[in-house]
Assembly symmetry: C2
Homo-oligomer: 500 residues x 2
């Protein structure tokens, strides 16, 4: 995925005039009743509220903007790439508190994220960093950490914030942030954690075959929907004081308020979020309000109905919630971050490659192999050129790959984790209707120009002398590529036609 | 791998006359000093004993039988397949106690294992069950459980047996079997565990490209070097009373004395063995004598020098112990157990397939896909046709696969575990010098004869009427396959040559 230019006309303000609902009862119907929380309406406790919202949305149904097709057609070369008009309109007609959420969320993006983020979806905000920015350090700066949202960004007064613990616990409790941060009550922990959206590299599945394509559910992520930070918080098992199987294992559920030594940004869940080590990002809920301990998997939509992994014969024609399995840990995966797909690489017989590799569930990367011939031969990254092992974090890698061949080459990366798991060979092997978990070996195409070949070096000089350019590689050269003498000499030696 | 006929002439007795060492000091040099242990000489504590054995073996070096080549040539169609003459000879020249071990081990095989086991290597004994026997139940009967040995089978008097616990423990201790089995001292546990040799399906790597081929180290396993049993014992962490990272995780180190409700057979480690759940079989030591707690990985040869996973550019020319990584957990894997490779399958448009699927490290199988077209389309096994999920055991699966096509077809299986890990597409992706961890999708070739096709049904009747046979498929039919009238009619309708 390239880094398109920012097109401000694409952003949210335009929808407001088209969709307003002047019903004076809206404030009463959908109140911001939770003290200290702005941009949040409580739905779970009020079925009648859900019903009313459903009625209003049905009234407006025919007027809402159509969800744009983005899989059978090229993605817009804009930034934001997708807008989410329909989701903005939903909020507009359920005002007065909700109507401003899209614009407010966008303002938070502007304040907290880097200017050169790739905005995959304006609202609900989804964004990933430019490829090269992610490779600068194994710790991802907060402003470049990817963001995956299913709704608006609430702003929460941390002094008013409380966490309610209920369900199957011995002692229900309500804790303030100060309670959680009090080392006399709970021992604070710090862990380096890679969070990865299970949609990372989805664009490759889309390029192979389209799948469920709603612009909110299945954002067209590139290789940047992954990031690593050091989180500070407390272990949920200590707070609950009831060890359960999942928390007995290597993976921990943390309640965190600090990210890379800074207070958690609003866009990443301030004042308190969950971080589940070893699990996909979707399990690490932001803006956590309640912990409700159950004796079976939650029936909340994100748990029951989304993040499901289907077989290749399951799709719109037959998918159920129960015939896919729930995606929890990421399998071993990797990506080439430089060079870029379709890049023209002029080199002296060696190409520098960089990228990441990660495996979920407490497993770590043991080996990274790269190939300059589509996967026929593989060269192993030197462990000195890989960042340290962590139970819950990726390893960045780099390698200088000897490349003799010129023209279009397929560069590939595959990783092996400590359980000897590796990646399937082609994208087709992992295609699934919801376009999750693109875990196949990552392949990019580059156009190799090996300047250590004398003929190529000569051509590069000619291009320069003629004021022409190698790129775009698809544009013919504007000067004659061979002299008459040279041509005559060669076709005399190797005649065009057989002698007899 | 087929099930070759037993050829008793291949077994061990023959070597004895050729290699005897009459030195009267042998009994003193290599004594059976451990009370209650027969077939065991203590080496670790006596460097001078190792040196002396090395000297004797060097003296005989030129006389020892050559290790047979079995990778560039077809495997013998005998049972045992490989003999291990050289290892028998090592024991013969180090007698008097060791010389009889090969014959005694073979006698234990005869007593404890099923008559139709496939004896991959006579001595040290390595064997796997016939494919169909492994599929009868998710619990493998003891007599059919695969056996992987690196040496002879000791016989140990369980009343004299003690386990010594030392190294980095607070309190070194010596425990009898009665101590371990006393529920007042240690809580007994029972776990269903699949043990898998990391060499399972090695034969596929050999068929692709040979690797390190010593007949002891790298036995040419088929798909049966895996088995599942219920083990009873105690948790090592309870015995040690020092929790460490590995034992905190899902995987447990058990000390067990019972297998499927029976006392542990001698060949499986009686009276006491280790079972490490979620780890490869090699980590589950048999005939355990001492537990020595270390603060770094052991330098014992099996841990330091064997069971290493190398990249594809590592081999005899450059392999080190430290440039491969240590194989601990198996990745997700699977095998087709019926039909057999190269089998002629006569069917009515549907083929029954059975097999197993397993993932190490506490992960379980979520999905099994099979293909009748080499992996272009995949059909998912119905969860009702798969055995239950266990954290540490395989799932057996079966499926009725619709097959229209006739002729040679490639049937394939691949599994997905709960971390969405799946298997790489082809064997070449996982080839490694030591031929471990054949984790690629399992492929077999069958010759499909679809008797629901009228023309095929007619041919099958003709074959019967003519007293001929379909198999072997490679033998031409002994009757005329088409009448003159039929031929004339067809070549009149569809002429052999163009009209003009």
């Amino acid at each position: 995925m390239g880094n398109p230019t920012v097109d401000e006309t694409n952003t949210s303000k335009t929808t407001e005039s088209l969709f307003t609902n002047k019903d004076p009862k809206l404030a009463e119907l959908f109140p911001e009743e939770l003290i200290g929380w702005h941009g949040y309406v409580e739905w779970d406790k009020y079925p009648e509220r859900c019903q009313k919202a459903h009625e209003i949305l049905t009234t407006y149904k025919s007027k809402f903007t159509h969800i744009p097709e983005f899989q059978f057609e090229p993605l817009p070369a804009t930034n934001p790439i997708l807008i989410g008009h329909r989701w903005k309109e939903y909020h507009a007609v359920l005002g007065p508190y909700l109507k401003d959420i899209p614009a407010e969320s966008w303002a938070i993006v502007q304040r907290e994220k880097a200017a050169d983020m790739i905005h995959v979806l304006d609202f609900p905000y989804n964004g990933e960093p430019p490829r090269n920015k992610l490779m600068q350090n194994k710790m991802t700066p907060n402003e470049y950490h990817f963001v995956r949202n299913h709704g608006g960004i609430p702003t929460i007064d941390k002094t008013a914030f409380t966490l309610t613990i209920g369900g199957l616990v011995n002692k229900p409790q309500i804790l303030t942030l100060a309670d959680l941060q009090d080392p006399k009550k709970f021992e604070p922990v710090e862990v380096t954690v890679t969070l990865q959206c299970s949609g990372t590299r989805r664009i490759e599945q889309i390029h192979e075959y389209p799948g469920e394509g709603d612009e909110l559910i299945n954002a067209p992520w590139g290789e940047g929907a992954i990031g690593t930070a050091r989180y500070r918080g407390v272990s949920l098992k200590k707070v609950l004081n009831v060890p359960r199987r999942k928390v007995e294992a290597l993976n921990e559920v943390l309640l965190v308020w600090e990210m890379n030594g800074e207070p958690l940004p609003a866009i990443h869940g301030a004042p308190l979020r969950v971080v589940v080590t070893g699990f996909i990002g979707a399990r690490s809920c932001k803006w956590v309000l309640r912990v409700n301990v159950l004796n079976e998997p939650s029936r909340g939509p994100v748990q029951q109905q989304e993040y499901l992994y289907y077989g290749p014969q399951i799709g719109k024609q037959n998918a159920l919630f129960s015939n896919g399995f729930s995606i929890q840990e990421m399998p071993v995966g990797s990506a080439i971050m430089t060079p870029n797909d379709k890049q023209v690489v002029v080199h002296q017989g060696k190409i520098e490659m960089t990228g990441w590799a990660y495996s979920g569930g407490g497993r770590w990367i043991e080996r990274v192999d790269v190939s300059a011939d589509g996967g026929h031969t593989w060269l192993q990254c030197d462990p000195d050129d890989m960042t340290e092992k962590h139970y819950h974090a990726w390893r960045l890698w780099k390698i200088t790959l000897p490349v003799l061949a010129e023209g279009w080459l397929e560069l590939v990366v595959r990783a092996f984790d400590n359980a000897c798991n590796t990646q399937p060979t082609y994208v087709r092997s992992v295609w699934n209707w919801d376009l999750h978990v693109t875990s196949s070996a990552h392949r990019i195409k580059i156009y190799s120009v090996n300047a250590s070949n004398p003929a190529t070096a000569k051509r590069l000089r000619q291009i320069e002398e003629n004021g022409d350019s190698l790129e775009p590689i698809t544009r013919p050269l504007m000067f004659r590529i061979e002299s008459e003498e040279h041509y005559d000499k060669n076709v005399k030696k190797h005649k065009r036609e057989p002698e007899e």
